[in-house]
């Protein structure tokens, strides 16, 4: 039999099998019980017949025949009666094709003769031996008929039961079919939840999980769409600026105008270059993360890294009138990739300097705690409103109203690098400086064997 995967088909098959087995069992039990009862009844009957034939005086053939016929009247029991005188001469045997062997086992016995089995009852008196026998097939037939009769109701009930089950199962599966057609008929980008009303309890969790999955896919999908839309904007804008700058250079008709146009074009090219660099850094970080290969790591001294970053960006900060310095430098070291961590810290500090107005302060701290090491960059800039702190990690997202021209990739790069180092990037408010406080927390493995 081909194994069916249909719930309905399987239910029906198992039901059919169960009913059949039950019917067979019932018939078997009925047959056995009936056979047992028949044995008792017929044995008693044979005994009674034998006893009635046993008279003190030997009966004549006619008398015996009349007696036997009276005993077995109304039932075709195929009783065979034989009588012997004590000297072994057969005095009587009933009209029957069967001729039993002359045996003198007193009481009940089974005798095989003429390719049938007989049940024999013998009784002996002083002047005769009476033997009553019956073909066992009679009893079996009777028991068989009884057993067959018990199967009748089951045979009638079976199709009705199957129909009811079919109906109930179909009814219960109706909502499942509805969900199926809902899902089948939807557009590829339709990820709205499927209604789970009326679903059987067994199927509802599946649909609920499906809806949760839809939700997750939708979120990912939207993030992707946002990214594509943002990328289109962010990649085109520098190019649009370049084109306009080039055209305005073409139109400049005085040396002064030409000089302005050239310096604008140069600034435009610088911006496009920076964007491409940031994109490449991000792509490399994400590619390394995606490869999952444990890139070569070595201990990196964070305090030293912070000092170098501060020195690198001191010029930029000074040009903007921002006071950049190292607030605290606990000795701390993490296993990581020096280049990536350098990029991380540089981007953090660069962001802080960029978004802090002139006259402000940017502080770098390296903090060593129990089991963790953190790099913290605080500034006196405008900060990021709490409800935007999640979105700023999205590529190309920029906080509304921010004056600084950035690629919108800095935080995405920082996050990618931090995640690859098993570090956590959190954004908060700096109580000391009033601006943003960005903290990258590294877990340092507990040194079991130093």
């Amino acid at each position: 039999m081909k194994m069916t995967h249909s719930l309905r088909g399987r239910l029906l098959w198992f039901l059919l099998a169960a009913i059949t087995i039950a019917a067979v069992a019932q018939a078997t039990i009925a047959y056995r019980t009936a056979l047992h009862d028949a044995d008792q009844i017929f044995d008693y009957h044979m005994q009674q017949m034998a006893l009635s034939l046993r008279s003190s005086t030997p009966l004549s053939n006619d008398e015996a025949r009349a007696r036997q016929e009276a005993e077995s009247a109304g039932g075709n029991d195929d009783m065979v009666v034989q009588m012997w005188s004590p000297d072994g001469a057969q005095m009587f045997h009933s009209v029957s094709r069967a001729r039993l062997p002359q045996r003198a086992v007193l009481g009940f016995s089974n005798v095989r003769a003429n390719s049938t089995t007989y049940r024999v009852f013998s009784i002996q008196t002083s002047n005769q031996t009476v033997q009553v026998a019956q073909d066992l097939a009679v009893r079996r037939n009777m028991a068989g008929n009884l057993a067959l009769r018990t199967l009748g109701p089951i045979a009638v009930m079976m199709p009705i039961l199957m129909l009811v089950v079919w109906w109930v199962v179909s009814g219960s599966l109706q909502p499942v079919a509805r969900v199926r057609s809902q899902v089948a008929s939807r557009q590829a980008d339709d990820l709205s939840p499927v209604s789970d009303t009326g679903l059987p309890d067994e199927v509802r969790p599946l649909v609920q999980e499906l809806n949760l999955l839809f939700g997750r896919v939708r979120t990912a999908f939207e993030a992707q769409q946002n990214f594509v839309a943002d990328a289109a904007h962010e990649l085109r804008t520098p190019l649009a600026a370049l084109r306009l700058q080039a055209q305005s250079l073409d139109r400049a008709d005085t040396p002064e105008a030409r000089q302005v146009a050239v310096s604008r074009l140069t600034a435009g090219i610088d911006r496009a270059t920076r964007l491409v660099e940031q994109l490449l850094i991000l792509a490399r970080q994400e590619a390394t993360a995606a490869e999952g290969t444990a890139a070569k790591t070595r201990p990196v001294d964070l305090a030293d890294l912070a000092r170098r970053t501060a020195a690198d960006l001191a010029g930029v900060a000074a040009a903007k009138g921002v006071d950049l310095g190292l607030q605290q430098a606990d000795p701390a070291s993490v296993d990581g990739q020096p280049d990536a961590l350098q990029i991380l810290l540089r981007n953090l500090v660069d962001n802080a300097v960029k978004y802090t107005p002139g006259g402000g302060t940017v502080d770098i701290s390296v903090l060593s705690g129990a089991g963790t090491v953190a790099v913290q960059v605080e500034d006196s800039g405008p900060g990021i409103p709490p409800d935007e702190r999640e979105r700023v990690f999205d590529r190309f997202y920029r906080v509304a109203g921010s004056e600084a021209a950035g690629s919108g990739l800095g935080l995405a790069i920082i996050k990618a690098i931090a995640e690859r180092h098993g570090a956590v990037l959190t954004l908060g408010s700096s109580e000391r400086l009033g601006g943003l406080m960005a903290t990258v927390t590294f877990k340092t493995p507990v040194q079991t064997a130093a």
Partner: protein, 220 residues
């Protein structure tokens, strides 16, 4: 012609601003959606808005929708990097009159500006003709009896504003608004001076004085 430039990108903004000023448009530049709203509410007299969509604080589409919601019919040219068909449809359906994709060509931008201004004035033909005078806004060529007349930039600006809507009377204050953006100093009798100059060059028929109201160019 007075334009409102809404553009958050500094590099693009400064180039477009200089370009439009070189074309003798009076241009105000705002860098976010809320500023755009404020500017539009303060000055009802812009001839055209050049609108970027991806704006900080308030999206360009929202600026456009609220403009149209308060029945502001100023032509809007959307200039954006949002390039999907759905986004373009959304822009036009929100009430934009035209849509250019960044990066765009300066000359194309100017041509679209002129086309929108022309259509807003209710004209399809690019050249204005009145009796013996023809005025071509694209080339700024003005012919009187077949001979070319040259105008100063300010004179041209006054004439262009009047020719844009023949039959409509513009007050002195309205003409001043067309001439000057926020950064310009306005002298008290500047408009009269330019009108006088124009009448000397083009004859006194073209620009008519409606006493106590302002000036107009008759319908052709």
């Amino acid at each position: 012609m007075r334009l409102l430039l809404v553009e958050d990108d500094t590099m693009i903004g400064e180039v477009v601003l200089d370009l439009l000023r070189a074309e003798h448009y009076a241009v105000d530049w705002v860098k976010d959606g809320e500023m755009a709203d404020t500017a539009l509410l303060q000055n009802q007299n812009y001839d055209l808005v050049l609108l970027d969509l991806g704006l900080p604080r308030k999206d360009g589409l929202e600026v456009l929708r609220s403009m149209r919601a308060r029945k502001d019919r100023t032509p809007v040219l959307v200039a954006t990097a949002r390039d999907s068909v759905a986004q373009r449809i959304a822009g036009l359906d929100a009430g934009a009159d035209d849509y250019v994709l960044k990066p765009y060509d300066l000359d194309e931008l100017l041509a679209r500006l002129r086309a929108l201004l022309r259509r807003a004035a209710g004209r399809a033909e690019p050249i204005f003709e009145y009796r013996n005078i023809t005025i071509n806004p694209v080339t700024r060529e003005i012919m009187v009896d077949g001979t070319q007349v040259s105008l100063s930039a300010r004179e041209w600006a006054v004439l262009e504003a009047l020719v844009a809507r023949p039959g409509a009377v513009l007050s002195r204050a309205q003409l001043e608004e067309k001439l000057y953006s926020w950064r310009d100093e306005v002298s008290s009798n500047a408009v009269e001076v330019y009108i006088h100059g124009l009448r000397k060059k083009l004859g006194s028929d073209l620009i008519q004085n409606v006493r106590g109201v302002g000036y107009m160019v008759p319908k052709a």
